[in-house]
Structures are given as structure tokens and as C-alpha cells.
């Protein structure tokens, strides 16, 4: 049994004392951690080094120092390992001249899947992309492209899934469905590594979290432990609405709201209870006849949480 919460028993992915720098800039600094079956969340503000770490895990870039092992091998030296890795990259790029189905089947063929057409149908069904599958990717929204990339990553039935901000651009319905898919993949015994800068997302997707700040591992453990560690730090949430002043005034009467600031058509709400706040905003909006169009935890508040975690460590 391993005591360090950054490490797991029977790891499929091992990161040992890894650093990466680009010129004078240190992107990742001496991170040691491991990943095994189940969903592990990689949490950190934008620019924390999550994407760099995931790119090193998949072999897209080499560590400047340290070692990475995926199923016992460094993928760059042994491309056959890629048959067991599925990546959803952060950038929204896809082959826009292809339909969703062609894109997924292309992934299946490149991964050496037997029966790529039937594997494509199964993967498309798993992510509920059937309706859009025969449309060109050029016409997909960002959220639909994310789903197409998830399908392409799943089609080869990989043991390890690396998902870099996979919920970016998705609407609430797509988000709920993808979270359920990731959960199920973890329950099936796959290693699912999923990054996000939004704690709420990570909380819903994974039981185990690694928090990264300024390229360093700031905290590791289960979500509840991370949550407890940051319980005294308020969230800041951006709410965009048609009647910001009226909604702000109403929200100030609410016990879960610590403070409110108005910024053009948006209000910034401070709270320690993010899940209750969503409900309270909906109730308050109805009372003042406002229409909330955006409800988004702000990066800045998370960043302060991460810095707090770094100081504690």
C-alpha cells in the first residue's frame, strides 16, 4: 500500500521526477505521480502546466528531465503503445473536410481496429453523436467537435484515455452526458486522466484529484480532501443576465452569497457554496424577471485557491 496520495497501486501511467522547460520558462517542475484504473482529475488554473504534463504522458513532447512510462514503455520509443492510448487534445482542431463518421473511422483505421466501420458505429452511439455523424465537421459547434474528438479517442477501445479540458465549449446537456461517459469508462477499469480548470467539473468526473499550480504538484488525494483544504476560500462566479442590478440586489439578500459586484452586463458573485448558488440564482432571476445567460466559476478565484494550496504544501 502506498502512502503518498500522488501515487497509486498498480499504475498504468508513471511520471517520475518530471520537469519540462521551454527556453527559460519552466512549464512543469519535478512532478512525481501515477495513474491507475478509474478517473483521475488533473486540476489547475490555465497555464498551470496540465496540458504540458498530458502532452508528455502521451509522448507529444519529451520531458526535459525525469521519466514517463505508459504501460511500462515510453510511447515515443514504442509507438505500439499508442494502440492503448486515446487522446482528446485541448485545441478544437479537427479535419474539417471530413464528416464526423469519416473522422472517427479514420481514427479507427489508424489505430489498427478490426472492423473499423462497426467500431465507428458503436463509438458514435456511445457518445450519442448519431444525428450529426454524417455532417461535415466544419459545421460542428465547439461542443460537438469536443464530442467528435471523444468518439475518435474511444473508437479503438483504449486502456488509457487522456482528456485535456474535454468539456470546453459543451452545453449543459452535452456536459452531463460526457461526464457520465467518462465515469462509466473509469468504472470499466480504464485509466481516465481528465484535466480541467473548473473544480466543479473535476468533482463530478473523478474521485481522485491531482492539483497542479505553477508547474508543480500542489495537492493530491480524493476530491473531499481537496475540497476540505479549500473550504475557507470563497468561489467567485460570473453570472451574465438581462437585469444585472436587480438580480444583484436580490442575491445580496441570500445567505449563501458573500458579496456581489456588477461589471457591465454581468455580476460577480462570491460564495462558499457553489452548488446552492446555482439554485439561488435561478430562484432570484425568476423573482426579478431576469434571464441568466451565463453561470461560470471564475478562474481568478480558483487560482487563489491553488496558490493557497501551494503555500500549505
Amino acid at each position: 500500500m502506498i502512502d503518498d496520495p500522488a501515487l497509486v497501486d498498480n499504475p498504468t501511467v508513471e511520471v517520475t521526477d518530471v520537469s519540462k522547460w521551454f527556453g527559460p520558462k519552466v512549464a512543469v517542475s519535478k512532478i512525481t505521480c501515477s495513474f491507475g484504473p478509474g478517473v483521475t482529475g488533473l486540476l489547475g488554473p490555465n497555464g498551470a502546466g496540465k496540458t504540458t504534463l498530458l502532452r508528455m504522458v502521451t509522448g507529444l513532447i519529451r520531458p526535459s528531465e525525469g521519466a514517463i512510462s505508459v504501460l511500462g514503455e515510453w510511447p515515443r520509443s514504442s509507438p505500439k503503445v499508442y494502440a492503448e492510448i486515446g487522446l482528446v487534445p485541448e485545441e478544437s482542431a479537427v479535419y474539417t473536410h471530413m464528416t464526423g463518421r469519416e473522422y472517427v473511422e479514420y481514427a479507427a483505421v489508424l489505430s489498427g481496429v478490426d472492423g473499423p466501420a462497426s467500431a465507428t458505429d458503436r463509438a458514435i452511439e456511445a457518445v450519442a453523436l448519431e444525428d450529426a455523424a454524417d455532417r461535415k465537421l466544419d459545421g460542428y459547434s465547439k461542443g460537438m467537435r469536443q464530442r467528435a474528438k471523444v468518439v475518435a479517442a474511444l473508437v479503438a477501445d483504449p486502456k488509457i484515455l487522456v482528456l485535456d479540458e474535454p468539456l470546453n465549449g459543451t452545453d449543459p446537456v452535452q456536459r452531463n452526458h460526457l461526464i457520465a461517459v467518462f465515469r462509466q469508462l473509469g468504472d470499466e477499469g480504464r485509466t481516465v486522466i481528465v484535466s480541467s480548470h473548473v473544480l466543479e467539473e473535476i468533482e463530478r468526473m473523478s474521485d481522485r484529484v491531482l492539483a497542479i499550480v505553477d508547474g508543480r504538484l500542489a495537492a493530491a488525494g480524493d476530491v473531499a480532501a481537496i475540497r476540505r483544504a479549500m473550504s475557507d476560500i470563497p468561489y467567485r462566479v460570473r453570472v451574465e443576465t438581462t437585469r444585472p442590478r436587480q438580480l444583484a440586489a436580490r442575491l445580496l439578500e441570500d445567505a449563501v452569497v458573500h458579496g456581489v459586484a456588477i461589471e457591465d452586463e454581468a455580476i460577480l458573485v462570491e460564495t462558499e457554496d457553489l452548488s446552492s448558488l446555482g439554485h439561488q440564482v435561478a430562484v432570484a432571476a425568476k423573482r426579478v424577471e431576469a434571464v441568466p445567460t451565463v453561470f461560470r466559476p471564475e478562474d481568478a478565484s480558483l487560482e487563489s485557491v491553488f496558490r493557497y494550496l501551494v503555500r500549505r504544501r
Partner: protein, 252 residues
Amino acid sequence: MRPAWAITVATVRQVLTLRRAIVFGLAEASPALVYLLVANTLSDEAALDRLGFMILIVYFPLLVPIVSLIVASGVLGAERRDGTLSFLVLRPIPRWVIAAAKAAAAVIVAGGLNAFGALALTVSYAVETGNWNLVVPLVVGGVLASIIYAAIFVPLGFFTDRAVLVGLLFVFVFENGIVTALRGLSALSPWRTGFSAFIALAPPDLLTGEDLAETPVELISLSTAALWTALAALVSVALVALVLRNRDLTSE
């Protein structure tokens, strides 16, 4: 074999959009159209002179390199620029297979377009004069030159975002400037290798020794041209495979 074929087909579709096919097709057909417009007013000898002008001034030094540059620099460059490279390289496929499939796509598109240009020009000449024996030599010469250009411009597109600019400098400053002044450097000019193959396959009486002396080309034999082409292709595939294996494939 199947992944290699899939990469080649996907890349051909990626670089040869309908708009590009129309634009390049018109550009490739333009020397033939110009030739047809003027040829029926000329004597047979003058028509051959006009054809020589189209081949030596327009087709080989301009059309073949520019079409090859735009096509070949995009086959890997677009993947890197658009962020789709990870989709391609994180696969259980040897790196040299990816490199070879990409190079093959560049050769199919650039070689195909340049073969079409050669065909259009020589067929229009044949229709006017009844002389069909320049069709195969020009197609072969154009395709060989396209292969060497692809061997140069595929890696160039991968290494720099300014591949087209660097490629144009290579074509206009080095090939059509420096090598024209220093004929001894002809072996380093892809279009001259293609032109040599064309001359080697064309009827011996096509050009007199005096004509040849006036061309800015130090001719090489067909076998040397073929060997040079194969070597360039091999080195290019090996170089791209090496980079795919050893270098960081995304930037910060």
C-alpha cells in the same frame, strides 16, 4: 498498409479542395491555352519554338515548382499549424509510414497536377502538328521534378510556418537566379532534373547542340535523374520520420 493508404487518401482530400483543383487546373492549362491561341498562325518551326518557350520558361521553372510548393508544404505543415498533428502521430504506426504516406500524398497531388499541365501542353502541340512524341517525355519530366520538390517542401512545411516564402526564395533566388548564372549547380535544381529527363526521352532531333547550349541547364542522363529523384525522396522520408520520432511535436 491500410493506415498508410488512409493517411494518403485523407491528405489528398485535405490539400486538394475543389477550389484549389479549379485554380491549379486553370493555371496548369494556361500554357496550353496560350499556345493554342498563337500556334495556328505560326509555321511548324515557329510552333515548336513557342512550345520550347512554354516548356523552358513557363512550365518547368514556374508552374512545376510553385504548384509543388503550395501542395507539398501543406501536407504536414497544415497538420502542425491546425493542431491535428496529435491525432495523426499518437497511433501505433511506425513513424516512417506516416512520413512516407504524407510524401506520397504530396507526390500524387503535385505530380498529378503537373502531369495534367504537361499533358495539356503536349497534346495541344500534337493536335496542331500531329507530333505526339513529346507527350510522355514531358509528363515524365514534370512528375520527376514534382517528386524532388515534394521531397524538399514536405519537410520545409513541417519545420516552418513560412515555408511558402522560403520555398519561393529557393525557386526564384537560388534556382532561377544563382543556378542560372552558375550552370554547374544544375544538379541542385529540381526542375532542371525534370528537364533533363524530358530531353533524355524526347526525340534526339528536338533540340540542336546550339539550342542546348543556350538553355540554363547542365543536362544529366535519365538514369541519373531517376537516381537523384529516388535519393531525394528517401532522404526526405527518413528526415521527417526522424523528426516525428525525436522532436517535440507541439510547441509551448
